[in-house]
Structure formats: structure tokens, C-alpha cells
């Protein structure tokens, strides 16, 4: 378990960070927020690299920071991969990996070959650092961080320099590795799709303060103000129940409802996360005919709230046990005479599917 109650800088300064959170001892916690929100500062604080950091950091029972002491960075068992990771240019790739391996604490298990294979580094081992691409550097930095045998893995947008194809290879690797090793991951991202795909919990940061923290399926549906407005929507855990290959569609089921979603590469039985953005949901009183929108979910209005945009309302619906958000105009709310308790049909224009790895349900 990771226990955080830390403060960087003072509130009188232009920027200060205050975070209190308890994170489970395994699984992935996404740190999500816009740039300047303090995501990187949070990771640096945990790694022991931030100056003027006070408070409390306890990682699996060991106090890294408390009133008595601040453990220096080299005594904290972290795997830290910066956004543009630095590799030692006076060493080759293998030298960089061995550097971490030689200094690792804890049980002597040689994971060198395993990690080299996992990150596909075999062809690079003898290469010089200045001849590497950004993606290669990030893979090496990740393998190097893991060779340190960390108790927590801190990843600062680790796939930002990796092309999309390679990303799909690396992300599952990180995920599988973390679960297998029971290693908690803090994963900084400003990409909501990555968060939905990888994270179990999400910590929303806004201007150095925690704007929300909890399970991804809970937090992303409820924190929809300010910088998170674009991400407003619902995240639903579901199962693939059918594949319509001629149409490149997958049918997913949750709480007695089904959705057809454009998706390829999925198989019946896959556990997935479905993300439905509020702006992709329209409302109707009955299932309409002659519309291009194929997905109609029957639900009940739970709440109608104002948004920052004067014309728009956010309607929270209950579809079975799940929550779906819709972003519609106030006029639409009035003309449909919607009130909490109204039965309504949610027309879902599109939804994104993300595969869940490993032991999600555990």
C-alpha cells in the first residue's frame, strides 16, 4: 500500500501541490490532469527528487518521508521513468540495464533476460545510446527501472514517444508485469483513452489539488467540471457477447443492456471497458425509427445538472446498475419534460472499447 499525504511548496507560492491519497499495493493508478497540474511533481516527490517536499510517504510499510526523516532518492526502491527518460550516454544499452541491476536490493532473481525479451531489447543491447529512437529509449528506461526491483513503478507518460503500433505492445506488457509482480504503478497521463484502458484507480489533479480519486468507473463519470469536461462520460465494465465481422462491430453486454460498438480484434468473452462520452449521447422518449443511431438504451433519469456552458445540461441516467451521462441542451430537457424519475431512451452515437488485461475482476 502507498500512503501519501504530501505537500510541495507553500500555498502562497505560484504553484504548490497537496495530495492525500491511499493507493492499494498493486494495480495501476492513473494520475490524470492537464499540463501544469502537478502530475510530474507528484511522481518526483515520491521518488525523492522534489525539493521542499514535506508530509508523509509510506510505501509498503516503509516510511520514505515523515516528520523524522526524508529518505534520499537512492534509498527509495522506486522505478522512475521520466517523460523523456535519460539514458547514460557513456554506457551502451546493456550497460544501462546492468547499472540498475547491480544496484538492486532485495531477493536475487535475475530478470535481465526476461525483461530484455519483454521489451524486445535483444537487438539493441550493444547499441550506443545516441543512435536510439525515442520509443527505444522509453522501452530501455522501463526495463532499467524494473531491473532496480522497485516497490512502486512511477511512469511519467511512458508511451508518449512510442508510435501507436508499439504502444499497443508495450501497454499490455506494463500491465501484465505490474499485476504479475504485485507492483503498484502510478501512471501519469493526459490521455483519457490510456487511463480508461490501463487504470484501476484514477487520481484527478487540478492546479496541484486532488479533484477526484477512486475507481475509474466512478471518478470519470462524476468529475466533469473544468479541464475534465471533454472527458465527461461514463466508463462501464462489460463483456463482449458477439462479433459482427461483416460490419466490424462488436456487441458488448452489461446490466441487461447491449451496445454495438465499432471494434476489431476482440473475441466473444473478452472483458472490456466501454467509454461513452456524454456528448455522444442523445435522449429520446421512445426508441426512434429511421435513425442512423443504432444503440438505444432504456434508462431512468437520476439527475439533471447545469454545466459550465449555459445552454447545456448534463443528464445522469441509470441503465440497469450502470450510470450513463448525456450532454443535451436545456431546451431539450424542457421539451421532453425530463425530470428525475422519467423513463428515457439514451441514444448512443458511438462508444470506445478498451480491452482489460489480467485479473481485472479480481
Amino acid at each position: 500500500m502507498i500512503e501519501l499525504a504530501l505537500r510541495v511548496g507553500s500555498p502562497t507560492q505560484a504553484f504548490s501541490l497537496e495530495v492525500s491519497a491511499e493507493m492499494p499495493g498493486s494495480g495501476t493508478t492513473a494520475v490524470f490532469g492537464s499540463s501544469g497540474a502537478g502530475k510530474t511533481t507528484l511522481l518526483r516527490s515520491i521518488a525523492g527528487l522534489a525539493e521542499a517536499c514535506s508530509g508523509r510517504i509510506v510505501v509498503s510499510g516503509e516510511a520514505w518521508l515523515d516528520g523524522q526523516r526524508a529518505l534520499p532518492a537512492h534509498q527509495r526502491d522506486v522505478g522512475y521513468v521520466a517523460q523523456t527518460p535519460l539514458l547514460f550516454e557513456h554506457l551502451d544499452v546493456a550497460g544501462n540495464l546492468r547499472y540498475a541491476q547491480r544496484r538492486a536490493q532485495g531477493p536475487e532473481t535475475d530478470r535481465f533476460d526476461e525483461l530484455v525479451a519483454l521489451f524486445d531489447l535483444e537487438p539493441l543491447l550493444a547499441r550506443r545510446i545516441d543512435a536510439l529512437s525515442g520509443g527505444e529509449r522509453q522501452r530501455i528506461a522501463m526495463a532499467r527501472a524494473l531491473l532496480r526491483r522497485p516497490r512502486v513503478l512511477l511512469l511519467d507518460e511512458p508511451v508518449s514517444a512510442i508510435d501507436a503500433a508499439r504502444r499497443d505492445e508495450v501497454l499490455p506488457c506494463i500491465d501484465a508485469l505490474a499485476r504479475q509482480a504485485g507492483l503498484p504503478i502510478l501512471y501519469v497521463s493526459h490521455d483519457i483513452d490510456e487511463v480508461v484502458r490501463l487504470a484501476d484507480q484514477v487520481l484527478l489533479l487540478e492546479a496541484g489539488r486532488v479533484a477526484g480519486y477512486g475507481a475509474v468507473t466512478d471518478v470519470l463519470g462524476t468529475h466533469t467540471a473544468g479541464q475534465f469536461a471533454d472527458a465527461a462520460g461514463s466508463v462501464i465494465d462489460a463483456t463482449v457477447t458477439g462479433i459482427e465481422s461483416p460490419w466490424s462491430l462488436a456487441t458488448v453486454a452489461f446490466s441487461d443492456a447491449t451496445l454495438s460498438v465499432p471494434a476489431t480484434g476482440f473475441a466473444v468473452g473478452d472483458r472490456v471497458r466501454v467509454r461513452i462520452l456524454a456528448r455522444d449521447v442523445s435522449l429520446a422518449l421512445a426508441v426512434p425509427k429511421g435513425t442512423s443511431i443504432q444503440n438505444a438504451l432504456r434508462g431512468r433519469v437520476v439527475a439533471i445538472e447545469d454545466t459550465l456552458e449555459p445552454a447545456m445540461a448534463r443528464v445522469t441516467l441509470e441503465v440497469g446498475a450502470q450510470t450513463v451521462l448525456a450532454r443535451v441542451t436545456h431546451r431539450a430537457v424542457a421539451s421532453l419534460a425530463l425530470d428525475p424519475g422519467s423513463d428515457v431512451v439514451a441514444l448512443v452515437k458511438t462508444a470506445a472499447l478498451a480491452r482489460r488485461h489480467g485479473s481485472l475482476s479480481a
Binding site: 527528487l49 537512492h74 522512475y80 521520466a82 540498475a100
Partner: protein, 233 residues
């Protein structure tokens, strides 16, 4: 042609330069590290003090060293008490004087190299479990190698090229304190121009080769001798 005294002077010069360079690297490295990393208000005074030999007449340095190192001087009293005797007119005295005189030539390139490292390599090493000494020897020093080599060559060459300080502190004792530059001076004084030519051309040749090697080394990395960012990617 080079005579026996010329050879002795050259050999002494080489020994002095080697010992001085070794001392300079040992002394200069921590000073450079401190100067590159400190935010102390003492930084500027210390930096100025280290750079003083660049602007002071060598005779001034020699004069004060003579006073301090002599039997009645502060340092001289200590060395006498330690049983080493007075340092002026000895090889050890030459080393002390040369170290002081060439200090800025060694400290500044190393300081620039340390400064251009930035924080990232050391922070990365720390997160990989390397303690402060470990970080210095396995990351900072190897990455600063061009700066250290520059410093060593400059320290060596500058020691070979010094005259005023060694003359003041060492005098002109053949085989003991008579280095090449002093020997040339003596030859010119006694109108032995042929001898002066032989030794002088040897020094000209050495200096050119040393500096050429340095520029080739630095040029391969696209940096200039005193550049702040001596270490290029």
C-alpha cells in the same frame, strides 16, 4: 643540439608537469564540483580566488609563495615542524607553486563540464539506487571526461610553460629546480643562442602537439576549448 643540462631540464619539466597535473586533478575536482553545484554566497569569492593566477603577474605569486613557504613563513614553519624543511628551491616547492599557478586552467574546464551535466543524469542514477559517491564516479566523472581531459592537458601544458613563478620559488639549480623555460632564459642570458634554439624548438613542438591533440579531441565532439557546454550529445 641538446646538451646534458638541456635533457636534465626537459626531464625535470616533464616530472614537474606530471606530478603537478596529478595534484591538480585531485585538488581541482572537488573545487570544480563545489563551484558547479553550490548556491553558497562564498561561491563568487572562491571562484575569483581560483582565477587569480590568470591575471596576477607570476612574480607576485612567486614573491608571496617565497615568503609563505620560506623558513619564517606560515607554511614554511609548518613544513619545518613536520621535518620536511623549507620548500623554496626544492622540487616539492616547485610542485606547490605550479599547482597554485595552474589551478584555474584545471578547475574551469572541469567546472564547466560538471555544470553542463545538468541534474538529469545524477537524478536518474539516484533513482537507480546509486549513492552520492557512486553517482560521482560512475556518472558525473565519465560523462565529464572531455572536460577532465581538457583540464589535464591544459594543466600539464601550462606547467611546462610557466617561468616567473618557478624562477622565484625554485631558482635555477640544474637538475633540481632548473626547468626548461628557466634553462632557455639562462642560455639567452649567456648568449648561447644555438642551445636556446634547440630547447625552444623542442618546447614549441611539444606545445603545438599537445594543443593540436586537444583541439582534435574537442573538435571531434564539436566543442570549443572553454565552451560552457563542453559536452555535446
Amino acid at each position: 643540439m641538446l646538451g646534458a643540462n638541456d635533457i636534465a631540464a626537459l626531464w625535470l619539466t616533464a616530472q614537474l608537469a606530471l606530478v603537478t597535473t596529478a595534484c591538480l586533478l585531485v585538488i581541482g575536482m572537488p573545487i570544480a564540483w563545489w563551484l558547479a553545484n553550490t548556491s553558497s554566497r562564498w561561491r563568487a569569492p572562491v571562484a575569483a580566488l581560483v582565477a587569480m593566477p590568470l591575471v596576477l603577474p607570476p612574480t607576485v605569486i612567486g614573491f608571496y609563495l617565497l615568503l609563505w613557504l620560506g623558513p619564517d613563513g606560515v607554511v614554511g614553519g609548518l613544513t619545518a615542524a613536520a621535518g620536511w624543511g623549507a620548500l623554496p628551491f626544492t622540487f616539492a616547492g616547485l610542485v606547490v607553486a605550479s599547482v597554485l599557478y595552474s589551478l584555474p586552467f584545471v578547475v574551469q574546464p572541469i567546472e564547466n563540464a560538471f555544470r553542463s551535466l545538468g541534474r538529469a543524469p545524477l537524478e536518474t542514477a539516484a533513482t537507480l539506487g546509486a549513492g552520492p559517491w557512486d553517482r560521482f564516479f560512475t556518472v558525473a566523472l565519465p560523462l565529464s571526461r572531455p572536460g577532465v581531459i581538457t583540464a589535464a592537458v591544459l594543466g600539464f601544458a601550462h606547467t611546462v610553460g610557466e617561468f616567473g613563478v618557478v624562477l622565484m620559488i625554485g631558482g635555477n639549480i640544474p637538475g633540481v629546480t632548473q626547468v626548461a623555460s628557466v634553462r632557455v632564459y639562462e642560455q639567452v642570458e649567456s648568449l648561447d643562442y644555438l642551445g636556446a634554439h634547440a630547447l625552444s624548438l623542442t618546447l614549441v613542438g611539444f606545445s603545438f602537439v599537445a594543443l593540436l591533440a586537444l583541439y582534435l579531441l574537442q573538435g571531434a565532439r564539436g566543442a570549443s576549448l572553454f565552451a560552457r557546454d563542453g559536452r555535446q550529445p
